[in-house]
Symmetry: C2
């Protein structure tokens, strides 16, 4: 059978950085050329970055993205890579699609441009447009109706994009009808816990359906709330994994494939088995198979344990948010508690202790052990640490406003801390990291403009019980490496408290975190109603959690972004009204 050396280039792009992304892609093709690749695959929307959101509704951006793809093809040839077929993601204007209300003429498509000998030899436009969870592609893109098949060194290669793999019918089915020998899928598939296995299973099923090997390249790196985890791979036509790359790092995965020789010239319309008709287009790049070459053995990479993959997602998401937004350093309030301890550790793993400024902000209600635990962490990790007591500011408010008590007094302390950190940010240029976790965010257990102030929230999608698990895991990793465990044991074991009133504990206001997180998982991730929740949880806790979660939407909307690690992160995934009287609860009174 004919051979092909395919290079899957999982690279880290930045939305809107057409120049920078093209330069990064060009370097990747250079590495692939040095490795002798014949076909290079780059991620979905490589040149524009993903998700570009409403940027693609700006005509000047789409025109620039189209030009960037043509320029890229030209630069490849000038650099001597013209004989390598390169699949690069971009967007382009669908001038042929009829306009409609909300979809003007020239609306964009999500495009794979196949570069060859200095030109875009053919383009494929994404057919299945995801419009659920974090995706809004029906808002942005006109769906493609053609399947592009290119003949490269005597092998027919079908070109597809991301969601095309996930839905029944459409391009994969059509690739089968076209007798393609290889299906290429370029992706920007966001990380979720334990999702990589699902991707592989799905790819195996689709390869089997198409009767073709399948090469899957994925973006890597953070973009606002999304983290892309790489983990590119190739399966054979039987669905068996041939090779896969590492996750959370840029990587060039090279696979020497033996593939069936082209066996069909059929072009034209076929039933796509998804309720639509698609047209197979064919482009001949080179009909003759390559001379036989010695195949390199396939490399495989073991998958990551769950806590490690979550930790890496948090570190990568945090690092990319900091650096892509142009910050040189971060600052955060270090209370001595578990959330700020883990947030600081993520930050140190992301950008190094020199650039992490920790600030203890004790109030009248802070316990001495809190200050000690904060100082201990700073010492263990070598962060830039300082102590700023907030009493003078709190006292000034109390004197002026005349004795705030209760919630007003609690929130005041949190807001003085928020204002103090923001003053340091303005004066010294740090990005402020917010330290709240998903359990707090779900239940509204935070202060607007107080502990929720900041630019990025690494634990936004991490339930409290998982925060503890991650802390223990990270300490064990350090111990295993013979390093000092970064997080003081006291911060992990002591009962959680906001320390905004004398003797206060989280358990005064919230159910035990183990119970709370179990209900939240079913209510938020599982979207279960009260009746279903009652099958597994105590009624008092269920009703309390429903009420807390339903009333906290305003606070959640005002929270900074943070890396998504679960199927239902608060933010892009979940869009609830603020004004909302629906409570799935028995009527009161």
């Amino acid at each position: 059978m004919p051979q092909l050396r395919v290079a899957l280039a999982q690279i880290d792009t930045t939305v809107g950085d057409l120049e920078g992304n093209a330069a990064r892609a060009l370097r990747a093709v250079g590495e692939a050329a040095a490795a002798g690749a014949h076909l290079v695959l780059l991620p979905e929307m490589t040149l524009t970055g993903y998700p570009a959101e409403d940027l693609v509704l700006r005509r000047s951006f789409v025109e620039a993205a189209e030009k960037a793809a043509h320029d890229f093809a030209g630069r490849l040839a000038i650099a001597g890579y013209g004989e390598i077929a390169v699949a690069v993601g971009t967007c382009s204007a669908a001038h042929d699609a009829p306009p409609a209300v909300g979809r003007p003429a020239g609306s964009p498509r999500n495009t794979l441009a196949l570069c060859w000998r200095g030109e875009v030899a053919t383009s494929y436009h994404k057919h299945h447009l995801p419009n659920y969870g974090v995706f809004d592609e029906a808002r942005y893109f006109v769906p493609g109706t053609d399947l592009a098949v290119v003949r490269l060194h005597g092998i027919d290669v079908a070109l597809t994009v991301c969601e095309d793999l996930w839905q029944e019918g459409g391009p994969i089915a059509v690739a089968g009808a076209a007798d393609a020998g290889l299906v290429v899928v370029i992706n920007a598939s966001p990380f979720e816990q334990a999702k990589s296995g699902a991707r592989l299973e799905l790819a195996a099923t689709r390869a089997h359906e198409a009767g073709a090997a399948l090469a899957y390249v994925n973006q890597v790196g953070g973009q606002d709330e999304l983290v892309f985890d790489g983990g590119s791979f190739v399966v054979d036509a039987a669905g068996e994994l041939l090779t896969n790359g590492p996750r959370f790092v840029e990587h060039l995965l090279v696979a020497d494939l033996e593939l069936p020789a082209a066996r069909s010239d059929f072009a034209g319309q076929v039933d796509a088995k998804d309720g639509t008709t698609m047209t197979i287009t064919r482009t001949i790049l080179s009909s003759d198979p390559l001379p036989a070459f010695p195949a390199q053995p396939f490399v495989t990479t073991p998958d990551l344990p769950v806590l490690q993959e979550v930790w890496e997602a948090l570190v990568v998401g945090t690092r990319d948010y900091i650096t892509k937004n142009g910050f040189a350093s971060v600052a955060l309030g270090l209370s001595g508690g578990i959330d700020s301890a883990v947030t600081a550790t993520i930050a140190v793993d992301a950008i190094g202790a020199d650039r992490v400024h920790t600030v203890a902000l004790p109030s009248a209600y802070s316990s001495p052990h809190s200050l000690d635990d904060a100082a201990d962490l700073a010492k263990r990790q070598g962060t830039q640490h300082r102590v700023i007591p907030i009493a003078p500011m709190v006292d000034a408010y109390q004197a002026t406003l005349g004795g705030l008590t209760g919630l007003a007094e609690e929130n005041l302390q949190a807001r003085v801390r928020g204002t103090t950190l923001m003053a340091l940010s303005n004066a010294e240029g740090h990005l402020i990291l917010t330290t709240g976790n998903k359990s707090e965010l779900a239940t509204g257990f935070s202060t607007l403009y107080g502990d929720s102030a900041g630019g990025f929230a690494p634990l936004k999608d991490v339930p409290k019980t998982l925060v503890w698990e991650l802390a223990r895991w990270r300490n064990e990793v350090a111990a295993g490496r013979g390093e000092t465990p970064p997080i003081p044991k006291e911060s992990i074991t002591k009962p959680p408290s906001a320390e905004l009133a004398p003797g206060q504990l989280d358990s005064d206001r919230l159910p035990d975190y183990t119970e709370l997180d179990a209900v939240l998982d079913d209510y938020v991730e599982g979207d279960k109603g009260r009746t279903e929740l009652l099958l597994e949880h105590p009624p008092a806790i269920v009703d309390r959690v429903i009420r807390l979660v339903d009333l906290a939407e305003y606070k959640r909307r005002q929270y900074p972004p943070g890396p998504k690690i679960t199927p239902k992160a608060f933010g892009r995934d979940r869009r609830l009204p603020i004004t909302n009287r629906w409570r799935d609860l028995p009527r009161e009174g």
Copy 2:
């Protein structure tokens, strides 16, 4: 020709309040019954409220909404209205739609339930699902594929929902093929400046296309960032306006129509002329025409001047947000400037001066005339006014943090004000109104957790130049009524300043507001690129505005909601990445 008395009930619903919305709808049908109506039309998604967003992805909510529609039909009959046909909006589960990734079995439809003699006699499911601007309906709903036609007193009535009117082909075209005598459209169509004329023109075109009279009922009232403006109407088959109702208030519009007798029994599939096939279904409620009755004359209502419709939208949006979220009062910082003056006036018009708490928060840089202007406004309008100097708090921060200067010092003052207002909110229960305008929001000219703190921002979508126009207009209205103009002339005429540094003016940092708003209008509303902008505006201002707007996305995301009055409000309308390197500017350096 047979006659029909149609009542269009434009009512104010609340998202999620199934019980309350049903009770409100029942009262409207009672009024219609008293007026002798034969057909009553209620707005889109009457029972659930609109837009219900991700609530409709919760199965227990959809089940409750379906049950609410059936219960509503039963309650109508019990109340003696069983012989009146009532079109009510709800959502329902599409158990027959094949599941797909992101669209589980039983996903919802946007449904019109036609109630008759105690039951839901037939249902129509919205066919065209808008997924642009503020709409995400492709995310939520399965499109309907049937057009329901009911025969009522010998007249064939085709049932449609909102977007069905806006797109070419689909239900309106099919209503023509079905020879319907009347097309009903139930709507939740958000307000935008000068949109009501476009609705009427469109309805006229569609009535002409369908060869049928068209009755258009619209929701009224505020829901988070959207304001629905009512203005229900009926046009005849030639597209001529017969009758229309007032805007921004609940109203029952009664129209006595003469309509063609039913002239077709065709049911089955037809080409919907939008690339799909639809099925006409027919339900016979009553075949015999009513005995002739004396027709009441049509009432028409003149449309509102632009400044009045904007003012009413701001007042209604603000009032509904306050009351639907359960607040009894509001508080805001009153600087003496134009933005806070207009915000206070909107609040007073919305809920009365007794419930509006104005707070002057002078700093070392506040001018004496600012305090005077604030006190003058409070006196004119009778708000609950107080003065709280912020120097003690600012001094405490400065003493502790060691002399903040420049931006850090400016932001500190704004944040002390924000914290002070939030302390009053926590202690006294007010909703805090944020006073920033759209020009500031666009350019990032505000302080996070400072002047942008609060729960609702009435001027969020109002450009600065329009703020001035509204102020002058509102004063003229008062003068015309022989009332004291509510806004001090000084607040309108003095040069705008944030007063955060000695002698500071807005013009130190921003272009002149007239120039700025003109560029913003083209860049934000018009989505024009730099090349187009340069055709009409000076290059220096264009490049400055592009840079300011592109960099301010994080601040905009953290801003409270406010009533949308333009085609591109910041918020639901516009979804830009924070991490974004795209600048439609010449390369630097």
